[in-house]
C-alpha cells in the first residue's frame, strides 16, 4: 500500500475547504487570510476558489472583526474568524469574554453564538515575546466557550467540523510548530473523518506514569515516552485535545492506574491550566498518588527572541525525562 504524507497544515486546510464547500453559511474572515493566503499559508488558494464574499481580508482590528463574527453568527451565518496569534486576540477579549461567551446566558437562551475562532499559539518560530505566548489556558478559564487544541492531523481536520456544528463559541488553538508536522496515511479516509470535541485521547498506553499534555508539547511527550520505555518506564501519554470543558474522567482514570502524574504545558506555571489539572488530581485522586505531582512548564519570562533562549524557555524532552524520573524515584 502506498502511504502518503499529510501535514497538519494540509489537514486544517482540507477541513476548512470541506466546510466551505458543504455549507453556504460558512465564511472565513481575518487578517491576511485572502490575498496573502494566511500567515501560516493555511488558506492559500481559497480566495481564488471561494471568492471575496467568503474569504474576507480584514483591517488590523481584532475587536472589530471578532465582533462582526459574533453578529454574523447570531444572524444565522457560520463564520470562521482567524486571529493571527493568541497574543493579538487580547485586543478582542471584550468581544470573546463579555459578548460571545455570555450571549446565551444574557439573552435567557434566546440567542446563541455559533462562532468559530482559529488562532496560532506557542513559541518556536523566533517571533519574540509579542507573538509567541501560550494563552489558551487563560481562555479555558471562561465559562461559555469551548477551547480546542488539535495536535494531530486527524484532529486538525476533524475538530473544525465539530466546532462548526456546536451551537456555542468555539476557539481553536493551532500550535505554530505543528503546521509542518507530518503523519503518514494509506488513504485520505483514514484522516478525513469526524472526531468528537469532548474527550481527551490516550496517545500511548502505559502503567507507570501519566504524562498529561496537549498541543505542541504532545509530540515531545511522546518522544520522551519512547525514550523512557528503553529505561523500563511505561508512560501513558494523554492528549487533552479539549481544554474546556476538561475531560477530567480520562485524566483521573489514568492517574488511578499509574499513581503518578507529570503535566507538561508550554504556558507559564503560575496560575496555569496545569495548576488546575494538578488540583483536580489532588482533590479527587489524592489517595491514589504514589509521588508528588510534577509539572514541566514554560519559564516565567516573556518568550525570548534568540533561538537558544527560546528553546530553553519552553519544555523540551530532557526536562520531561527528568520530571518522570523524579516521580519514579529514579535519581540519576
Amino acid at each position: 500500500m502506498n502511504q502518503t504524507t499529510v501535514t497538519y497544515r494540509e489537514a486544517i486546510k482540507a477541513g476548512l475547504a470541506e466546510a466551505l464547500r458543504s455549507d453556504d453559511r460558512v465564511f472565513i474572515m481575518g487578517e491576511d487570510v485572502g490575498r496573502y493566503g494566511g500567515t501560516y499559508a493555511v488558506t492559500m488558494g481559497f480566495l481564488e476558489e471561494f471568492g471575496e464574499a467568503r474569504i474576507r481580508d480584514t483591517p488590523l482590528s481584532e475587536s472589530g472583526f471578532v465582533g462582526a463574527g459574533i453578529g454574523a453568527a447570531m444572524g444565522g451565518m457560520r463564520p470562521i474568524v482567524e486571529v493571527m496569534t493568541v497574543n493579538f486576540c487580547l485586543l478582542a477579549l471584550d468581544q470573546i469574554v463579555n459578548t460571545a461567551a455570555t450571549m446565551r446566558h444574557m439573552s435567557g437562551g434566546n440567542f446563541s453564538v455559533p462562532l468559530v475562532i482559529r488562532m496560532a499559539t506557542g513559541a518556536g518560530r523566533q517571533l519574540a515575546a509579542q507573538h509567541s505566548h501560550s494563552l489558551e489556558g487563560w481562555l479555558a478559564h471562561i465559562p461559555g466557550i469551548k477551547i480546542l487544541t488539535p495536535a494531530t492531523v486527524t484532529d486538525g481536520y476533524g475538530m473544525l467540523g465539530a466546532a462548526l456544528a456546536d451551537p456555542d463559541p468555539v476557539l481553536i488553538f493551532e500550535h505554530v510548530m505543528l503546521y509542518n508536522h507530518k503523519e503518514r496515511y494509506d488513504s485520505p479516509e483514514d484522516w478525513q473523518r469526524p472526531v468528537d470535541i469532548e474527550k481527551a485521547a490516550i496517545r500511548r498506553e502505559g502503567g507507570d506514569v501519566s504524562l498529561i499534555t496537549y498541543g505542541g508539547c504532545l509530540w515531545k511527550a511522546l518522544d520522551a515516552a519512547e525514550q523512557l520505555s528503553q529505561e523500563g518506564i511505561q508512560a501513558e501519554v494523554i492528549d487533552l485535545r479539549v481544554l474546556r470543558p476538561l475531560d477530567t474522567r480520562t485524566i483521573l482514570d489514568s492517574v488511578v492506574k499509574t499513581n503518578r502524574a507529570v503535566i507538561v504545558e508550554e504556558a507559564w506555571r503560575s496560575g496555569s491550566l496545569s495548576a488546575e489539572i494538578g488540583m483536580q488530581i489532588a482533590e479527587r485522586a489524592f489517595y491514589d498518588l504514589d509521588a508528588p505531582i510534577q509539572r514541566v512548564c514554560g519559564a516565567e519570562v516573556p518568550i525570548p527572541y534568540p533561538k537558544h533562549l527560546e528553546d530553553a524557555a519552553v519544555p523540551q524532552v530532557p526536562q520531561i525525562l527528568a520530571a518522570v524520573r523524579e516521580v519514579m524515584g529514579r535519581h540519576v
Binding site: 504514589d290 519559564a299 516565567e300 533562549l309 524532552v317 530532557p318 527528568a322 523524579e326 516521580v327 524515584g329
Partner: protein, 406 residues
Amino acid sequence: MFEVTMPSLGADMEEGTLIDWLVEVGDSVEKGEAIAEVDTQKSALEIEAWSAGIVRKLLVEPGETVAVGTPIALFSAEDEAAEELPAEQPASTATATASVQADEPPAPEPTVSQTADADAAPTIQTQSQPTGKPGRARVSPAARKLAGERGIDLTGLKGSGPGGAITLADVEQAGEPRASDTPSEMRQAIAATMSRANRDIPHYYLGTQISLQHATIWLESTNATLPMAQRIVMPTLLIKAVALALEKFPEMNGFYVDDGFRQGSGIHVGVAVSLRTGGLVAPAIHDANRLSLERLNQALTDLVARSRGGGLKRAEFADPTITITNLGDQGVDTVFGVIYPPQVALVSFGNIAVRPLVQDGELRALPCVYAGLSADHRVTDGRRGAMFLNKIKSLLQKPEKLARIP
C-alpha cells in the same frame, strides 16, 4: 556536608540508643567503617558509614535515645571545605524524612531552565518543599492507604520514592514473606511483634462455653453424604461462625493505625498455624464470610498444608483482619491470646470435649468448646465483645445457617 541519621536496623525498630561513638571529630572515615555502637530494642549493633567522609560534628551523645531518621552526625566529603558547618541543630527530633541516605545528593535548588542547548543536562523547575511535621514519616498517599488496608506498620520501612518517601512498591514488599526466614529470625520477629502487642494494646479477655451438640450432629449427617476427602471439619464451622458474626460486629474486623480504628476492606480471617520447626504464621483466608463451607474447608486444608510446606502468597500474609487460634488439638481448654497488631481482636478455641452442661434444668453430657475473645479496648468495650462472642455462640446452634451459600 551531609547528615548521618539513625538507621533502621530492623523492620520493627523505632528508635536507637547511642552506646558509644567509634570515631571522633576530624577523623577520616572509609565507606563501610563502623562509626558508632547502637542499642536497638533487640541488641547492640554497629552503624557503618554509608559513604566516605570526614567527621565534622557529632550530634548525639552516648546514652541518648533518638528516633530512626534523626541526624546523629555531620560528615563532609574529603575535598569539601569545612567552614560551611551549619548552626546547631536539635538532635532529638526526627527529621521528616524517615531515612536520609548519607550518599544522597543534596536537594536541587529551585532553578529556572536556562540551558543554552536543549541537549544539555536537563534541569527541572523544582520548587522547595516544606519539611513536614517532625516524626511524621514521608509516605505517599497511595502507600499509606494500602498500608492501612493491609494492616502493615510503616514504622521502620525504608522508602524508595522521591525524597526517600515510602511508595506503594515499598509497602507491597513489606507485606511479602521473606524467603530467608529462619527459625531464629522468626523467633525474633514474633518476639518483637508480641512485645509490641502487649505493650501497646490494652487487651481485655472474655470467655464462654459453647455447646456443639447441634453442630456435631449436623456435621455427622452432612459428612455421611460426602466423600472422605470433602468431609467438613469442625474448625471450618467455627471459622465460618466467626466470619459471619464479624458482619454484625465490624469494629472487631480491622486495624488500629494512626491513632484510630480502620475497618478492614473485607473479612479476611487469619488462621494461626504452628510450624513443626517452631514458631507460627497466621495467613488469611480471604472473604471467609462469603465462602461456602465446602470451599472454606478446602481453603483451610490448603492453607495449613502450604503454611507447613511453604508456598504462601504475599497477600495471605499481608492482610488478615482478625486472627483465630485453635489449640484444641493440643488438649487445652481455654486460650487467652495476644492480638496480632495492628489487628484489634483475636478469637480462640480450646479443645472440644464432652462436658457436663445444664440445659433446661437437666444435667447433660454434651460436646462443648470454650471460646475466648481477646480484644483491643481502644476500639471496643467489653459489652460489644460479649455480644460478639454470643453471636458466635448462637450461630453455632444453627449449623444449617452456616452452610447457606452466600
